[in-house]
């Protein structure tokens, strides 16, 4: 199974600023995913990031607000732009490719916007 790390693990940010979250996988993977988990809620997919192509965003999420980079097969970043308190959430990175094509998740980044 893939081992995924995220940086930072948590941050407190001011309204109107931006934060970039890094996701590193210990092996090469084709697909990486970014999820949001709001307090007490389940996971909602933000976008799918494939290496060498533009990210695919889910309904309700736009590139200007959540730009994503995928420079190689082991790394991706998610930026949360022009933050507001409603962006306070846990942001999770995942990759697919296990024996059952399951997704493995990173530990998450807990973001608080004041």
């Amino acid at each position: 199974s893939a081992v995924i790390s995220q940086k930072p693990s948590r941050d407190i940010c001011q309204r109107g600023t931006s934060l970039t979250i890094q996701c590193q996988v210990d092996s090469q993977v084709t697909m990486m995913f970014w999820y949001r988990q709001q307090p007490g809620q389940s996971l909602t997919l933000i976008a799918t990031a494939n290496q060498g192509s533009e990210a695919t965003y889910e309904s309700g999420f736009v590139i200007d607000k959540f730009p994503i980079s995928r420079p190689n097969l082991t790394f991706s970043t998610l930026t949360v732009s022009n933050m507001s308190p409603e962006d306070s959430s846990i942001y999770l990175c995942s990759s697919s490719g296990g024996s059952y094509n399951e997704q493995f998740f990173g530990p998450g980044t807990r973001l608080t916007v004041l």
Binding site: I4, F33, S42, E58, Q103
Partner: protein, 110 residues
């Protein structure tokens, strides 16, 4: 649109008291039903994948089963360390993304 509904939202059991968690789903062409465990402050941890009705998977005190409309996660003689939120997700035909349910928050009292 693919949908997943989990019940109950929360369940509190005594140590050793067996029970089941439910995951009802609607999906266009099931390509996998996934169970995850999530501890507070951590990312989801993969438990099982089920692909077809009648399939069962077991791991320690947990057993997952699947029908055409729902999946059950049976927990036998649970221990306090089994306390966590259990998430169910599905992947539909032609999709790579997972659609998650709201989760069941399980608490096992010693």
């Amino acid at each position: 649109e693919d949908q997943v509904t989990q019940s109950p939202e929360a369940l509190r059991l005594q140590e050793g008291e067996s029970s089941s968690l439910n995951c009802s789903y609607t999906v266009s062409g099931l390509r996998g039903l996934f169970w995850y465990r999530q501890d507070p402050g951590k990312g989801p941890e993969f438990l099982f994948t089920l692909y077809s009705a009648g399939e069962e998977k077991e791991k320690e005190r947990l057993k997952a089963t699947l029908t055409k409309k729902e999946s059950f996660l049976h927990i036998t003689a649970p221990k306090p360390e089994d306390s966590a939120t259990y998430l169910c997700a599905v992947r539909g035909e032609g999709a790579q993304k997972l659609v998650f349910g709201q989760g069941t928050r399980l608490t096992i009292n010693p």
